[in-house]
Symmetry: C2
Subunit: 490 residues, 2 copies
């Protein structure tokens, strides 16, 4: 089973596609660029949603739901937003089909043409700020702290499962504030929430910073981001949080009476993470045997496989396995007993390895005699024999170790693949090999653009807290006050 996976060394991109489909995470659908998220993949996404949703609520946010469709004219209202979002998108032009007069199926009814086309939302700032105008009159209505879980559509030409699809699932927070400082604090808070989620739940270490103007969200004053490093040395933007200034308030005329009894425009943020996180999760930890999941997000944390030669052994081992399953479940551990009689243990081992279950317990006749189980860790592929006594505590500890180990491994990998480079020829060589490159940059869009054209690398982020260090731009030689992170990116 696992043999069918292309190895990472042979073809990283093919390995990823193989893994996503063979581990039953997702597949391409009949609709160009749109994926089907299969139950096992969706189970991981649901766990991500639950953890994030709790973090959003713990920081005072509520969920709501805004329309899927946005009138075309809304996009023209915010000048830079229209450039970024209103181009490659799904356009609804008609609201009715009719039987083909020639008897060949159904055709669009030309009499049912919309007066104004509707855009399937690529992001919801416009429709939400159009709504907020009626919700906000005075400072007493602020802050407005709202999140939405939704599907969005961006008509991407080249798509890849989870990483870039025409339709994807995400959450988008949209908050409104009375002051600039409060809005900035909110944008920064949500970046911290994302970083904490990535590191503590996904076991994916992330760098935090702000984007250069070239890479900023269309309509934002500042875009905060978290960036992770994949095993092939490419960076992946895992979440963004935008300080939108008063841009959308001005575009949609959202004013409020402030405490000084004066009319002012409202300050805004928006922030989002998407099913793209699934791609980050997969590419951070998985290996040539398949998926490797951090225990906190694994739909199944422990799988128990019986090893038997006859029905009598099967019965006895099944009883023991069921007993162990129950004991583990009392600790809140998610356990599956794979009692299928149609498959051999070797097949099951490979299957659960492919699906990334963190711990596998195997129980054979000798284990029954000795009160032991064989425990195999998915992250290290190490096996050991453990006494059944107090197994639930041992398993809980192991799961915690795996969670930490995955994070540490990914962190070590990133550290080993982060380089300081001080001249242009080294930069070009280094970027070619992958990893983050910390280099000086003169702060201009022109230089950034040139570097991108020549190396395909972009500035992934400018560190927020900053490591002030005088230097000279690797490209132009002009002075620079701090290094920024470059990488090729997904």
């Amino acid at each position: 089973m696992a043999k069918e996976l292309t190895s990472r060394e042979d073809n990283y991109s093919q390995w990823y596609n193989d893994l996503v489909t063979k581990a039953d995470l997702a597949e391409n659908s009949a609709v160009r660029g749109c994926m089907v998220i299969k139950p096992y993949g969706y189970g991981i996404w649901e766990r991500m949603q639950q953890a994030l949703d709790k973090m959003f609520k713990d920081t005072g946010h509520e969920n709501a739901y805004f329309p899927l469709f946005i009138p075309k004219s809304f996009f023209s209202k915010e000048a830079s937003h229209v450039e970024g979002f209103a181009k490659e998108c799904a356009v609804v032009t008609h609201y009715r089909l009719k039987n083909d007069p020639n008897g060949k199926g159904i055709v669009v009814d030309e009499d049912a043409k919309l007066e104004e086309e509707l855009i399937v939302r690529p992001t919801s700032e416009t429709i939400i700020w159009d709504t907020y105008r009626d919700w906000i009159q005075s400072y007493r209505d602020l802050p407005l702290l709202i999140n939405q879980w939704a599907n969005v559509v961006r008509w991407e030409m080249r798509t890849r499962l989870f990483l870039r699809t025409a339709e994807f699932l995400w959450q988008e927070g949209h908050t409104a504030h009375a002051t600039k400082d409060e809005a900035i604090a909110e944008a920064e808070q949500m970046l911290r929430v994302y970083a904490e989620f990535a590191e503590e739940w996904m076991a994916v270490p992330v760098l935090r910073g702000v984007k250069s103007p070239n890479e900023r969200f269309a309509g934002a004053v500042e875009t905060y981001c978290i960036e992770a490093l994949m095993q092939d040395g490419k960076a992946l933007q895992a979440g963004t949080s935008h300080f939108l200034g008063q841009n959308f308030a001005k575009a949609f005329d959202v004013k409020f009476l402030n405490k000084e009894n004066k009319q002012d425009f409202v300050w805004a943020t928006s922030w989002g993470v998407s099913t793209r996180l699934m791609g980050a999760l997969i590419m951070s930890h998985s290996d040539d045997n398949g998926l490797v999941l951090p225990p906190k997000l694994a739909p199944i944390q422990v799988v128990i496989v019986p090893i038997y030669k006859n029905d009598e052994q099967y019965e006895l081992i099944s009883d023991k396995a069921t007993e162990i399953k129950k004991a583990l479940e009392t600790k809140g551990i998610r356990v599956k007993y794979d009692g299928r009689t149609t498959q051999k243990p070797g097949y099951k081992f490979a299957e659960w390895e492919l699906k990334g279950v963190p711990l596998r317990l195997a129980i054979g006749p000798r284990d029954l005699e000795n009160n032991t189980v064989e425990v195999a860790r998915r992250d290290t592929l190490e096996k050991e024999s453990l006494y059944q006594q107090n197994l639930e505590q041992k398993v809980a500890n192991l799961l915690e170790q795996i969670q930490k180990n995955l994070f540490q491994k990914a962190l070590d990998f990133r550290n080993e693949n982060t380089f300081k480079v001080d001249n242009w020829s080294d930069f070009k060589v280094r970027i070619e090999k992958g990893g983050f490159v910390m280099a000086h940059w003169d702060g201009t869009s022109e230089t950034e653009q040139k570097i991108k054209e020549e190396t395909k690398a972009t500035i992934r982020l400018i560190p927020i807290e900053g490591y002030p260090e005088e230097g000279n731009c690797i490209y132009s030689g002009k002075p620079s006050a701090q290094r920024v992170y470059f990488a090729r990116a997904y």
Copy 2:
């Protein structure tokens, strides 16, 4: 505040609209027929989702996600389905916009016309069965028990918040089975799940039955349904579960190797409930003061309002309220302390009544002295003074009583408004006044259609378990073996 609500007697329809908007549940958006679900309304929907999702998982179902868009040609594959669903829908014809050459905003790029139009899903049978073809080869792949939480779009001409909107949120279960009996058992099981949810969580009593052929889902062999009676005497279909036979398997060529090693078409069900349930919830319990929520679904179950004359009293009462809040929360009760100093108690009372909070606790200076609180029930509007001692248990009991009382009240109302009628003139009079009318019907679509034309009443359901009783059709006089339920409906 509550005074602004139109009374039910004056104008039931206006009362409903007032209530939905003034209680902050939902509002119309800038997009025709699409609603914005506001945080308070969404909080109720989230609780519905959680309860249903758990019930689905407890019966062995998993969640997945299928594309928003469906190729137009898919609809033509199932003959009756196309008639029912492929007409009034949102059609995506283009995938790009461009700047208007005349400089006036953005326009559709005619060069970016899709080869085949995409329909925004009105329901997902077609795209899902097209996917299942690759997932199902043998009986070992069955049953497939999948649910999806999603948005769907049906281009309704006349829309009403929650009850009928162009876009709505729902869940749709789509299961695949090896045998007819198993599929029927699944469809019936999910109807029981829906009925249990409606009665135990929403406190809405429902009738269970099957639809007449006229009212069947387009593509189903049998449509099971639950029907509730609203306060204005109109029925509301609260959920449906369909036995689809092999119709979709045949349309999408989904075959499997059965245990006898023969190829056969797969048997199917689908079932769904939507944000329409919010309409059923509102219209079942609410009154002229506003929303009345069953405690199990109320985002806030208990609100505490301080009654004070000066800062010192405010401080003391706030401390006590916070202490009580914490004690209630240890019992898992959802509590809000409304410590706003900008609003008077009377205003707060009216606001929380409007929002349907099941219990209100008021604490004043005398309560501090006497160790009491004033407790007001939203369902009966009764007040009583309770000692603070063991308050959490008393409140928990009260919440349980309210939940039961709401169900009983709604059940009594339905019983009082269900009538047996045996002739056509009585039928016409009775239908005009509202309620369920149990009458004999000859079983033909023609008669059903005539009755609908003359009275606007439809057959809501044919009882499943049946009350066999010989009689004569109220319209045609032909023989009938059991009564069916008629009503005018939402």
